[in-house]
Symmetry: C2
Subunit: 480 residues, 2 copies
């Protein structure tokens, strides 16, 4: 059912091009590719980078096995010399990447691959697929977690995920983005993401009466008793039965009940009424969990209305990023080496927003020293450095008269080398560390960037030298 080696999860054109480069004597030509995206999902102010650990695993494993070669031979498009070459090749590229959990912005490289063009091209599909998926979910999770204003958010979406990895790596990305845990068991087993869950409606239906179901559950899990109260009627039966059972089966055994879950109906109204009933019964410490097609907009609205919810279970709208299920990362050739010189390349397009930033680039983030807040990102040529002991002029690359001289700032390189000539030189931190790093880094963004609607447009500028390169190429190639 599942394959260990995903080398063949590649668009077929990567292989026709690979053969094309091989036949044209270009197999050792060194190329540079950037992964970047053009638009933040949900019109948000930033995205969260995620998926690097799985990219590393894929690249470490990259090889065509005998069955792959046999299949390719059967296509009748490739000669034996080429098939022998790809059977024997070892991944030898350099890879740089922004680290997982980092807030990232449109039109800046988040992964750069340098190496023989056949190899650097071949990995396009899997790098995009992996980072697009996990960054999409981490970004959505971060929005939902921020809407919950400190209340916990649990990822509940496995059953609506797009395939098995959609559930498993989706839970991973949701955790990076700030979720407190997941309903997905395998996510705990594989990634140490706290997994939790108590009962479905079917549990309640399996017993003659609702109270029998609650009682049976409480007797087995008196120290962990959380019951689902909406199988029949939340206020008329669910909560009264819960309170009765909490007293008879939980408190009587020396424990406190954990909570109730409401999965349908008007969450604001039902949670307020339930809260009052629980408080009046002597259970102010009993938590209320809400689920049922939640997202950041509904959570924000019901909290504004005073919903008494302690913990949100968020399913389909998180695991599919329902309001915008596409993270549009692309992977574009930005340079080639000609006799040791890095020659920048550009892609012009009828759609202006599809024009690429050419050249092998560095990405810098400038932080205000006094507040620690991020001011702007700046892309530079590889050999440029930003001296943060002196004022630095940034300007908008389209509207170049929009300028700002930055002072009293700290400049940080965002890209870390992950592979050095095919050898992995980076070890992913554990998931908890990535999650903590994400929270710290999101805290460096101004509130204006964090807004759900119409956030401030964070600056991603080009250095003067890089801007000159781009301008020159635009003029040179626009009529070609």
């Amino acid at each position: 059912m599942k394959r260990m080696n995903l080398t063949m999860l590649t668009d077929f054109y990567e292989i026709t091009m690979a053969n094309g480069y091989f036949q044209n004597g270009l197999k050792d030509k060194i190329a540079y590719f950037d992964m970047f995206f053009r638009k933040v999902p949900d019109d948000g102010g930033f995205a969260i980078m995620a998926g690097l650990e799985q990219v590393i695993q894929y690249l470490k494993n990259l090889h065509f096995d005998d069955a792959d070669i046999e299949y390719l031979r059967g296509k009748g498009l490739f000669n034996e010399e080429f098939l022998q070459y790809i059977k024997e090749f070892k991944f030898s590229c350099d890879v740089w990447s922004v680290l997982e959990g980092t807030p990232v912005f449109p039109n800046e490289p988040i992964v750069t691959v340098r190496g023989p063009v056949i190899e650097a091209q071949l990995v396009e599909t899997m790098i995009l697929l992996t980072i697009n998926h996990q960054s999409l979910i981490a970004t959505k999770a971060n929005r939902i977690v921020r809407a919950a204003q400190g209340r916990g958010v649990l990822e509940f979406g496995s059953r609506r995920a797009h395939g098995y990895d959609g559930a498993i790596f989706g839970a991973r990305a949701a955790y990076i983005g700030g979720c407190a845990g997941s309903a997905c068991t395998i996510a705990e087993q594989d990634f140490n993401i706290p997994a939790a869950g108590t009962m479905a409606h079917s549990w309640v239906q399996m017993f003659p009466k609702e109270i029998d179901a609650f009682r049976a559950y409480a007797r087995i899990y008196p120290d962990n008793c959380l019951v689902l109260v909406d199988t029949y009627n939340v206020l008329k039966s669910g909560v009264p039965n819960a309170i009765k059972v909490f007293n008879e089966e939980v408190v009587s055994r020396g424990f406190r009940p954990k909570g109730i879950r409401i999965d349908s109906g008007d969450i604001t109204y039902l949670s307020q009424k339930s809260r009052k009933m629980l408080d009046d019964a002597g259970f102010p410490d009993c938590k209320i969990v809400a689920s049922n097609s939640l997202d950041e907009y509904i959570i924000r609205d019901i909290l504004v209305q005073g919903a008494e919810v302690d913990l949100f279970g968020v399913g389909e709208r998180l695991i599919t990023s329902k309001s915008e299920p596409v993270f549009g990362g692309v992977y574009k050739l930005v340079a080639v080496e000609e006799e040791g010189e890095i020659v920048p390349k550009i892609k012009i397009s009828e759609n202006v927003e599809k024009i690429t930033n050419p050249g092998y680039k560095q990405v810098w983030r400038l932080f205000e020293r006094t507040s620690g807040k991020a001011i702007a990102d700046v892309l530079t040529l590889p050999d440029e450095s930003i001296d943060d002991t002196r004022p630095y002029l940034i300007f908008d690359s389209e509207h170049t008269w929009k300028r700002l001289t930055v002072t009293d700032f700290r400049a940080k390189r965002l890209m870390t080398q992950i592979f050095d000539h095919g050898v992995c030189v980076y070890e992913s931190p554990d998931l908890q560390a990535i999650k903590d790093y994400c929270r710290e880094q999101v805290d460096t963004l101004w509130d204006e960037v964090l807004r759900f609607e119409n956030p401030h447009n964070y600056y991603v500028d080009l250095s003067k030298d890089l801007w000159d390169v781009r301008e020159k190429l635009l003029i040179e190639f626009s009529g070609k």
Copy 2:
């Protein structure tokens, strides 16, 4: 990176409930669960069932291995007797399912599982995940294919899929729904889905000039020459260079060029102008392929405007079902056996649309004999039969005064037994056969049901006997 056994891809509450049933002496209690959905994505008139083959593989493999048991032991929630039980259990349920490729409608069972409640409950997450995902994509693909009105549609979305299975099984589902092929190499290797692809923009950029890139490609693939014409400027450089190279490198070698691909800009305008240039140059047989964020709405619009496109490459909006990325299938307890009697169960809800159809049921589809068109689906009790030699009265289960007596019809059972006491008794057809079956079955739907917007609401009715059971349970349980 990938796991062979997905038993642990289950919501944690399935395991807490399993333990609960075990501790309450209910482990051998026979339960019936239905999978069904409540709403067709995109407000369409029907969905396409897909994913059964992967459900079968999962169920055949179902078992907890030592590492799973060790992990569960570490949770500190389960005793050794229970752990021993789940370590040793063998799947022993009956499973019935609607076959892949069948049009399906809201509120009818598409999968039914009968067996010991622990087992029948445990498989909820994976059955939902698998069928929800593939049915979502098959349904979307079918809409897009119908919009293309006989032109081919290729699935191009791997890089924007939600994880690896999202791409691989997404390509499978898209093929069932009617796509002609995929860009995903592994989909051909694993499922025989024709995979195709020629060049990316990077190929064009790798050469000093666009024409050099086309020329290099044509020399390697003279019999399969399709070039991407929008790297710099479609009409000023892309198409003229293509024509020049077709003449010099393809026709001169005795071949005909295959086509051009346009991936940006105004597809209607660019395709019409390109068509004229190709025709004037003596290449009326050269196909035009269009890609760039297409879906059924854009394809319909540009065809109405006279776009000259022969083949559509559809990526992110297909592989994520962007306009509605959730297929909301649910899995609900509908009956239990008490001393050999099947006792129907219901779930009431504050949201009326969340009330379930109780009982173990049969699903029938009634076809008009003269036209072969589907009239309605009818759910019945298990021992009821629909005699299609006599008139049959169907009625709306909410508005019971809406009635229709059907005559001259053929009644067909929609569910097939897949597992018999844990033994698989069904073999999936090959994918091409499923795809062909899907097309035939969609052809049995009236045009009114096929409409993209405001389609006719196809009837899914209850038999009188089943309706009586439901009414009785609603009254009995609504105040519980």
